[in-house]
């Protein structure tokens, strides 16, 4: 019996020690690599939600994931530290950019599609337009051009390669090769078939990249863009083409921007509120349950330390709602102790000795502690899965972790300390 107690005490001490180390802002073991993640509403930043138009999509999950990785590439170019990009629901992508203040610049960069179109020769009388040169915008490309139904939407991939000369086998010019998807393949074949010995212009953002003359009908859906000066330029062009193709069209459907000062203030206020709440609960517990109450308060402090360590480890992104969930779980953590102490009082009243009253109090209270907490856990899990993202999810996860840890501290920690004290001479100080 006593051996078991010392064992659980050492487990508690070890868990506590590790948690304290993790909680410290800077540890001698891992420096400051384990950091608390704070939500946008606390540090300020920009949140964008895009909805993908999947009506034309063959493989919706794949397209959505592709869209998300295109967004990720673009966000990386913005140089945001710790951005969060996730798909939510069936067709939405949430982008969180901590620290980004200029919402318009972010939207321009992330949501822009570099428009790639293919144009054929036309005349001024037919309403054709003149366009600049891609590499030298000041230079007007000769000829008049009109749009076709072939666009970058039908582009599958773009790569930079060297074009090999068929006769000599030498690799010479750096080119960008592009591949069309099945729809694009047919359109391209038709376009090249109808425009033999005429030029087809490859136009990016209204500037002509190159306008080769069609020698024969191309049916394999592949083409090369010449005109790059070196492989670097060809690579850049390929990258732009790849990035410019959003796999599916996407619309910006919600945007938020939160100033950093607002977040800092809220963080401070919540922290103060949490401490004051903890203090008031402690006073109540000690006043009402005396020494047992004091032990419960100690368990509560241990609870807070362990929970915060878990938040940092996972890591849980703490938003305002998440902090509210945590503070709320402090209140719930104490509930298990109240249930147990009330039970112990009853056992004592029925004439049991202290040691037995403690053991039986815990045993009898356990079923109601378990059942009642399980219903809260159930609610948290439903909230977590249905909410998809955002503050509700943060709230659910912090409350869930809080409840689980509280089951450990309110039961194991309080029980171990109480039983250890009751087996010594200090026993007479225990009051419930």
């Amino acid at each position: 019996m006593k051996k078991g107690l010392w064992l659980s005490l050492s487990v508690i001490v070890i868990v506590l020690a590790v948690s304290v180390l993790i909680d410290l802002p800077k540890s001698f073991l891992w420096g400051d690599r384990i950091k608390a993640m704070l939500g946008l509403d606390l540090i300020g930043g920009t949140e964008l939600i895009y909805q993908a138009d999947l009506s034309q999509s063959q493989d919706k999950i794949k397209d959505l994931n592709n869209l998300s990785s295109v967004f990720r590439n673009r966000v990386d170019e913005l140089g945001v530290s710790e951005p969060n990009i996730q798909t939510t629901g069936n067709d939405k992508i949430l982008i969180e950019l901590p620290g980004i203040k200029d919402i318009d610049q972010a939207i321009d960069k992330i949501g822009a599609t570099y428009e790639l179109v293919f144009m054929v020769e036309s005349t001024a009388e037919e309403g054709g337009v003149q366009l600049g040169d891609y590499y030298d915008p000041a230079f007007t490309y000769p000829g008049y051009w009109k749009l076709t139904d072939l666009t970058g939407r039908q582009l599958k991939s773009a790569d930079a390669t060297f074009q090999s000369d068929n006769q000599s086998g030498f690799q010479s010019d750096a080119v960008t090769s592009i591949k069309f998807d099945n729809v694009g393949k047919e359109k391209f074949a038709k376009l090249t078939g109808e425009n033999l010995q005429k030029r087809i212009a490859i136009v990016l953002d209204n500037k002509i990249v190159s306008a080769p003359t069609v020698q024969n009908e191309i049916t394999n859906g592949e083409a090369v863009i010449t005109g790059s000066n070196d492989i670097k330029e060809a690579q850049q062009l390929a990258k732009r083409l790849n990035e410019g193709m959003l796999p599916v069209p996407a619309n910006l459907i919600a945007q938020r921007n939160i100033g950093a000062t607002l977040g800092q203030d809220s963080l401070k206020q919540s922290a103060v509120a949490g401490l004051v709440g903890l203090f008031l609960v402690s006073i109540f517990m000690v006043f009402y349950y005396r020494t047992s109450g004091l032990i419960a308060v100690i368990a509560l402090v241990i609870y807070s330390i362990i929970t915060l360590a878990i938040f940092k480890l996972i890591p849980v992104t703490l938003s305002l709602a998440g902090i509210a969930g945590f503070i709320l779980s402090i209140g719930m953590a104490i509930d298990a102790n109240i249930l147990i102490f009330e039970r112990m009082r009853e056992e004592l009243r029925s004439g049991k000795v202290l040691n037995l009253a403690i053991v039986d109090g815990f045993k009898r209270a356990w079923s109601s502690v378990r059942d009642s907490n399980f219903s809260s856990i159930l609610t948290c899990i439903i909230l977590y899965y249905i909410s998809g993202s955002g503050p509700v999810r943060g709230f659910a996860i912090t409350l869930l972790i809080g409840i689980l840890v509280s089951l450990f501290t309110a039961i194991t920690v309080t029980r171990t300390i109480l039983l250890l004290i009751s087996s010594t001479k200090l026993k007479r100080f225990i009051h419930v």
């Binding site: 945007q255 509120a273 109601s368």
Partner: protein
């Protein structure tokens, strides 16, 4: 011992009146739907000169924008509400404001399109329905070994009636507060609060149920009303103390916490107070009446 179950008719009538009043207030006053659900744009901005902030209204009038609402949040802060606008319009407005107010600074901006709000409404309704079903099934399962004539389904259904009671009254009070206070908005956090209240309400109810089961097993031939009365009285101190500690923490959060979660915290305070009340005065009372009727 308090005569709680014995006088349960009074409590049930009281609760019935409160629920009827809540439905009345929700129907007549309506709820203050936030941007999350309604869609729209909110701009929060500051300037050191409150006089100048009030001139923003004239800019809207000049630009012939309708459907806007401007509210002075504090001395140097205003909150502007608009229908959904695009980025160009937003830029245009910002530069117009800056022209008039030199130290105009936007502290927060959010714009939510109708797609998001529809999605959110669907998810919220789903969450409430799923959580209710989950709770009925869970209680029926947790109390499955009850001896006859007790029915585990009646335990579950009585608990859910108590939940509906809590949610309805909370929403009713929120409707009344929202009628007077603009910060009491229905947003995602409100739904979160409702779901938390559900969890708490069941939490409390299960503690009483658990005691009822224990007492019943101990003395199966006693009248159910008497057993229920005993159980409620035995768990009363615990119910009150638990709620008190949670309410103390929430009160601290309400008074000291940030303004942006004030509506959330207040909703929780109302709901948890009624959740404790209903676990004793509604759930157990209905359960006891229901079984007493059929056993006779």
């Amino acid at each position: 011992m308090f005569n709680i179950i014995k006088k349960s008719n009074y409590w049930l009538v009281f609760s019935g009146i409160l629920m009827a009043l809540s439905i009345f207030f929700i129907a007549v006053l309506g709820l203050r739907w936030g941007v999350d659900y309604k869609g729209g744009t909110i701009i929060e901005a500051t300037s050191a000169d409150p006089e100048k902030l009030s001139s923003i209204e004239s800019i809207f009038k000049k630009k012939e924008i309708t459907g806007f609402q401007i509210k002075q949040a504090s001395n140097n802060q205003i909150i502007i509400k608009l229908p959904v606008i695009d980025n160009e319009k937003h830029n245009e407005l910002t530069s117009a404001f800056k022209e008039k107010i030199s130290d105009y600074s936007e502290t927060s901006y959010s714009s939510v399109g109708p797609v998001i709000s529809e999605d959110l409404t669907r998810r919220s309704i789903m969450a409430v329905i799923l959580a209710s079903l989950g709770i009925i099934i869970y209680i029926a399962y947790a109390f499955r070994k009850l001896p006859k004539p007790l029915s585990p389904w009646r335990f579950g259904i009585s608990a859910v009636i108590a939940i509906i009671h809590d949610l309805l009254i909370t929403t009713g009070i929120v409707a009344v507060i929202g009628y007077y206070a603009s910060w009491m908005e229905i947003d995602v956090l409100f739904i979160t609060a409702l779901l938390t209240i559900m969890g708490f309400s069941v939490h409390d109810t299960i503690v009483v149920y658990d005691r009822l089961r224990e007492n019943f097993l101990h003395n199966p031939h006693q009248k159910i009303e008497v057993t229920a009365e005993e159980s409620v009285n035995q768990t009363l101190a615990r119910s009150i103390n638990t709620s008190l500690t949670v309410l103390v923490v929430l009160a601290a959060l309400f008074i000291l916490g940030g303004e942006s979660i004030r509506h959330f915290v207040l909703t929780l305070i109302i709901g948890i107070a009624f959740g404790t009340y209903s676990s004793i005065f509604v759930a157990t009372a209905i359960l006891s009446k229901w079984h007493a009727k059929t056993s006779r």
